[in-house]
């Protein structure tokens, strides 16, 4: 195999593709956690989004409508979690797990009707001369969702650090009782954050079923929702670092694909398949050793809001 420029450009395009759904889901979860809520249902919401996006695209023939449906389905499923944890104060960890089990089951049930179907692809948003150029496609050759994900990194970062609404959201996550006493609706803000997280996870899931493999397969997100959760910790709850983390994870998965395709690896393929998950454990440990992440985590993360009425 030759290390030509084309080889590297193909590698970059592949890595960006792998990273995008994790980045989307992690951005959503970042906002949820900044509001003080820990939703472990990301994997389930991604699967719900994946099947909703796929089914809608099959019926309408339009992947854009599919992505909207995925966002709506992700948000709707997240509101089950929201109702239980925010209105009924149920345990967030257990409820998030339930949402993942639920989403896995629902997507498999609906998905049985769509096995073997194929969906139309997104067109390129740039002129084909740019999108197909062997060199320039490194900038112009991606699915529209990829550009959306990068715009969202900037928007979420700007929202959290520079807007009044972002400040309120962070206040709710850092000190819910104070935010409540100033007169902000803690539960209202958290509901909105949870729904946003669900919508983003849904779009991330749709990226699997509409872009990566435009076919339906059970459990097609393969644990990437959990990686997204790990990524938020890795990023110390900062949006720009999510971008770095997601692309780093993409490189790890690419190494697996490369090792398999090239046949150069002396190590078994299962080693490479386990690598991204092992590295996630290693990286989480390194991060925790360096800056005791507890300091950066929102102070109310995972705790129910119990005002003294």
């Amino acid at each position: 195999m030759q290390m030509t420029p084309e080889f590297f450009i193909l590698a970059i395009v592949t890595i960006v593709g792998i990273s995008t759904p994790i980045l989307l889901a992690a951005l959503g979860e970042l906002v949820v956690e900044k509001a003080g809520v820990l939703n472990l249902g990301v994997e389930g919401m991604m699967l719900v989004g994946a099947i909703a996006g796929f089914a809608t695209t099959v019926f309408t023939g339009n992947p854009w409508v599919g992505v909207l449906a995925a966002a709506a389905a992700g948000a709707t499923s997240s509101l089950i979690f929201g109702f239980l944890t925010l209105s009924l104060n149920s345990n967030q960890v257990a409820t998030g797990l339930a949402l993942t089990i639920f989403g896995t089951g629902v997507s498999s049930l609906i998905g049985t009707a769509f096995v073997g179907r194929i969906v139309p692809q997104f067109g390129s948003i740039f002129p084909p001369e740019l999108a197909r150029d062997p060199i320039l496609k490194v900038l112009f050759g991606y699915s529209p969702i990829v550009y959306f994900s990068i715009i969202m990194v900037v928007l979420v970062w700007w929202f959290l650090t520079s807007t009044r609404a972002g400040l309120i959201l962070r206040a709710v996550g850092e000190n819910d009782l104070s935010a409540h006493s100033i007169g902000y609706s803690v539960i209202g803000v958290r509901y909105l954050a949870v729904a946003f997280g669900g919508a983003m996870a849904g779009i991330g899931g749709a990226y699997f079923s509409l872009v990566i493999t435009p076919m339906w397969a059970e459990r097609m997100t393969a644990g990437r929702g959990w990686i997204a959760l790990a990524l938020v910790v890795f990023a110390s709850w900062r949006a720009p670092r999510l971008l770095v983390g997601a692309y780093f994870f993409g490189v790890l998965v690419y190494l697996e694909l490369f090792a398999k395709a090239s046949g150069l690896s002396i190590l078994p393929s299962q080693f490479w398949a386990a690598m991204p998950y092992l590295m996630t454990v290693v990286v989480l440990t390194l991060i925790s050793m360096r800056d005791r992440i507890g300091l950066n985590a929102p102070a109310c993360l995972g705790k129910p809001f119990l005002p003294a009425t």
Binding site: L40, I80, L84, L88, N89, S90, N91, V93, A94, T95, L97, A98, L99, I101, F102, T104, G105, V106, S108, L109, T112, E218, G223, W226, L229, A230, V233, P268, Q270, F271, A273, A274, Y277, L278, T280, V281, L284, T285, S288, M289, R292, I293, G294
Partner: protein
């Protein structure tokens, strides 16, 4: 009129028992409606899933075989969950338990003798415990979130199994199928009733809940777990070391999951293949909560969940619902049980609106 929640000074014991039963019944009711909407005979589907395994006596052994690993894993997990330690990687510990038991079995071959099965079970417990050591050590030493690490290691465990089956342990007479050779006769668990599949592991699953009950209610350790879970500040002042609690609950969870894996392998399957990771480690989380984290509750909940597994297979053939449906029911049960916690902790007061209250005062 409006509804108000009042915090109870003590959790309601009545509600602790009533709500799990109500959750199962509600799930069945919703099932009837949803299946009818999907164009399937809903009543028939729910009867097949929840009732038929109880009525058909030849299904009892299937229920018992499925309940055993669920109960054993959930017993271990419920200890941790009580202390707010979240081991969600039991599936990985379950896989490694079976892998270690298989390793002993394969290494011993025909030379084992009658005690080999004990060594295999021990190896399973050691393997599951070792797999849980990693998240426990990372949590206590560096504060790494145990939820994420224990889950990541499940994916690693699946790959370990895949690697062993793809080469080193592949049955040479297995037509290149990724599975181990079947166990020697003295390496399998004894069958309790001749002609059935009811193996010794099921007896273990029936006895262990009572052992855990004693452990949790009578020992200092059980007291420590309960205090750490319900009053963490008091526990700190009382001198209970939180790291020690994490260690013990993770290791017990791993040990039980590893034991369940070894029992399932040596008792039910007798050979490992890629289908071994069947999600018991995740379903056990539901079992733990449906059983209200109480050992006897776990025993009953394990049987209920096993019924839905077996019934799901029945309904697959009778009303042609996909296999995934059982998972949806299991998740619904968990949703309901978590939602109903609000009734355990609170009393519901219906407060009449001002107008009718005023009317009542005037004696109208």
């Amino acid at each position: 009129m409006r509804i108000k929640l009042e915090k109870r000074p003590e959790p309601s014991r009545l509600m602790l028992v009533v709500t799990p039963i109500a959750s199962v019944l509600l799930t069945m009711a919703i099932g009837v409606v949803v299946f009818d909407l999907l164009g399937i005979d809903g009543f028939r589907a729910v009867v097949d899933i929840f009732i038929s395994p109880i009525l058909l006596s030849y299904k009892w052994q299937d229920v018992a075989v499925k309940a055993a690993p669920l109960i054993i894993i959930a017993l271990g997990l419920s200890v941790g969950n009580r202390a707010n330690v979240w081991n969600i990687g039991a599936e990985g510990q379950y896989i490694i338990g079976a892998v270690c038991a298989a390793g002993i079995g394969i290494a011993a071959g025909t030379t084992g003798g009658p005690l080999i099965i004990l060594v295999m079970l021990l190896a399973g417990m050691v393997g599951g415990t070792a797999w849980a050591t990693v998240p426990a050590a990372l949590k206590t030493r560096f504060g790494v979130n145990e939820i994420l690490t224990s889950l990541m290691l499940t994916y690693v465990a699946t790959q370990v199994l895949g690697y062993l089956l793809s080469g080193p342990w592949k049955n040479p007479e297995g037509r290149n199928f990724p599975a181990t050779a079947p166990l020697q006769p003295d390496q399998t668990l004894p069958i309790l009733f001749p002609g059935t599949t009811v193996h010794l592991g099921i007896a273990i699953a029936l006895v262990l809940p009572f052992a855990f009950w004693l452990l949790m209610s009578r020992s200092v350790f059980g007291y420590q777990i309960r205090v750490v879970g319900s009053a963490p500040n008091a526990a700190r002042h009382g001198g209970f070391d939180s790291n020690q609690t994490v260690w013990l609950s993770m290791l017990i969870g791993g040990c039980m999951a590893g034991l369940a894996g070894a029992l399932e392998f040596a008792g039910a399957l007798k050979a490992l293949n890629l289908g071994f990771p069947s999600g018991y480690g995740f379903t056990a989380i539901i079992v733990a909560f449906l059983g209200r984290l109480h050992p006897i509750g776990v025993l009953i909940a394990g049987i209920v969940l096993a019924i839905t597994y077996v019934g799901g297979q029945v309904a697959q053939t009778t009303v042609k619902i996909p296999n995934a449906t059982a998972g949806i029911f299991q998740a619904l049960m968990l949703f309901f049980i978590l939602a109903s916690d609000v009734l355990v902790r609170n009393r519901i007061r219906i407060i009449p609106s001002r107008k009718s209250a005023a009317a009542a005062v005037r004696g109208e």
